[in-house]
């Protein structure tokens, strides 16, 4: 509503007292790559699970995972949706009620697995959404 918007605008430009509204936009380091939402490497090893006798290929695969913060201001490399951009700003103004956007997979790829069944028949099958290719804030 207009009233709330005006109140939030005023609060955003005034110095914070007691930290009840969270840090101001100027406090966020938009270039802090280490904490920003991004893809991290994670390898799932079928060999480590002791499955090399029935899984022919692969020995494992790079599943990866998404981690990091989605905070204001969202940089271009965070692959943020337009909605997430707005949500970070609203979170800044109203952190108790509006959470930060989520850092999650925006692009997932399939892997193919080649394995034996109990009858020694061989199966080659594609499994979707097994590998994180890109992460983003949304």
């Amino acid at each position: 509503s207009t009233n709330k918007r005006n109140k939030n605008r005023n609060r955003a430009t005034q110095p914070q007292e007691g930290g009840s509204r969270g840090p101001s936009p100027a406090d966020y380091n938009s270039s802090d790559h280490n904490t920003a939402c991004r893809r991290h490497e994670l390898y799932v090893s079928f060999r480590e699970l002791g499955w090399q006798d029935w899984i022919i290929a692969p020995e494992g695969y790079a599943a990866n995972y998404c981690g990091g913060e989605c905070v204001f201001p969202l940089n271009a490399h965070m692959n943020a949706t337009n909605h997430a951009i707005v949500q970070t700003l609203v979170h800044l103004m109203n952190p108790e009620n509006v959470p930060k956007p989520c850092c999650a997979a925006t692009k997932l790829h399939a892997i193919s697995v080649l394995y034996f069944d109990d009858n020694s028949n061989v199966i080659l099958k594609k499994y979707k959404n097994m590998v994180v290719r890109a992460c983003g804030c949304h």
Partner: protein, 265 residues
């Protein structure tokens, strides 16, 4: 240990810095088996601990698909065709390339018949094949299916002959006489010819999947140009006593016809 590190080669602060404990490994196994759609961990029996022709053929297909997944370039079809080799199992032709690109699953099946029939001279020589299709998941439709046999140079006795190789579907078995057969394909071959022979058995495979009680197997018979029945061994067809990499097998391509929703564990 590269799974511990993030893209900057630094250990992510939230990561577990140790090997999995036994119960954690068991949890991982259960969850991944659930994703793969398997009720339990398979326990295959591998003869001599080596791969025979079917796994080798499937590994070729896997390498092709994996390359396509990595590169995601249309030109991978040329690379797939360039892998055609006379050393090992023949790869698919142009039509089969399309089946591979379109398939959700490919399965190869081992021949369950242990021993070739030794028949009296009065009866036709034949070689039997039976395949267990019971493990095919529900909702998978067969889009292509082949019987693959490796033929070496025939016995010297028939080396100069033209052979007629016929593939039959067994329609009904009888205890005291020849089974009722349905001819699927006949093919003329040079006795000296060597290499993989592929026979289309799509219609038969579909019948077996839809009506498993009709799965009575296949028979192949070989005759000389003069109509004399000869054994598959005389014709040069590799059987149980042949090389592992030349064993006969069946391969089928599948496309999923319905969506399966994985229930929470």
């Amino acid at each position: 240990s590269n799974y511990l590190f993030d893209g900057n080669n630094e250990v992510h602060p939230s990561f577990i810095h140790r090997r999995l404990r036994t119960h954690e490994k068991r949890e991982m196994q259960k969850e991944i088996l659930s994703i793969l759609g398997l009720p339990h961990r398979p326990r295959p029996h591998l003869s001599h601990g080596k791969y025979n022709s079917a796994p080798l053929f499937m590994l070729d297909l896997y390498n092709t698909i994996s390359s396509e997944e990595k590169n995601e370039v249309e030109g991978m079809l040329e690379q797939y065709q360039s892998m055609y080799t006379t050393q090992g199992p023949r790869l698919a032709k142009h039509q089969e390339n399309a089946f591979l690109n379109d398939a959700d699953m490919v399965m190869s099946f081992v021949n369950l018949v242990e021993y070739d029939r030794e028949l009296s001279p009065h009866r036709m020589h034949h070689k039997e094949f039976k395949f267990n299709l019971s493990q095919i998941p529900e909702g998978e439709a067969v889009t292509a299916s082949e019987l693959r046999l490796y033929k070496e140079c025939a016995n010297q006795v028939v080396i100069n002959e033209t052979l007629l190789l016929s593939v039959y579907q067994v329609v009904q078995e009888h205890p005291n006489r020849e089974a009722d057969l349905f001819l699927l394909e006949s093919r003329r071959l040079w006795a000296a010819e060597e290499g993989w022979l592929e026979f289309d058995i799509l219609a038969t495979s579909n019948l077996w999947v839809m009506s498993p009680h009709y799965n009575l197997g296949l028979q192949i018979r070989v005759e000389t140009s003069s109509g004399r029945s000869i054994s598959s061994k005389e014709a040069g067809l590799v059987g149980r006593d042949g090389g592992l990499e030349k064993q006969p097998f069946m391969v089928a391509f599948f496309k999923v016809s319905e969506v399966h929703i994985r229930t929470a564990r």
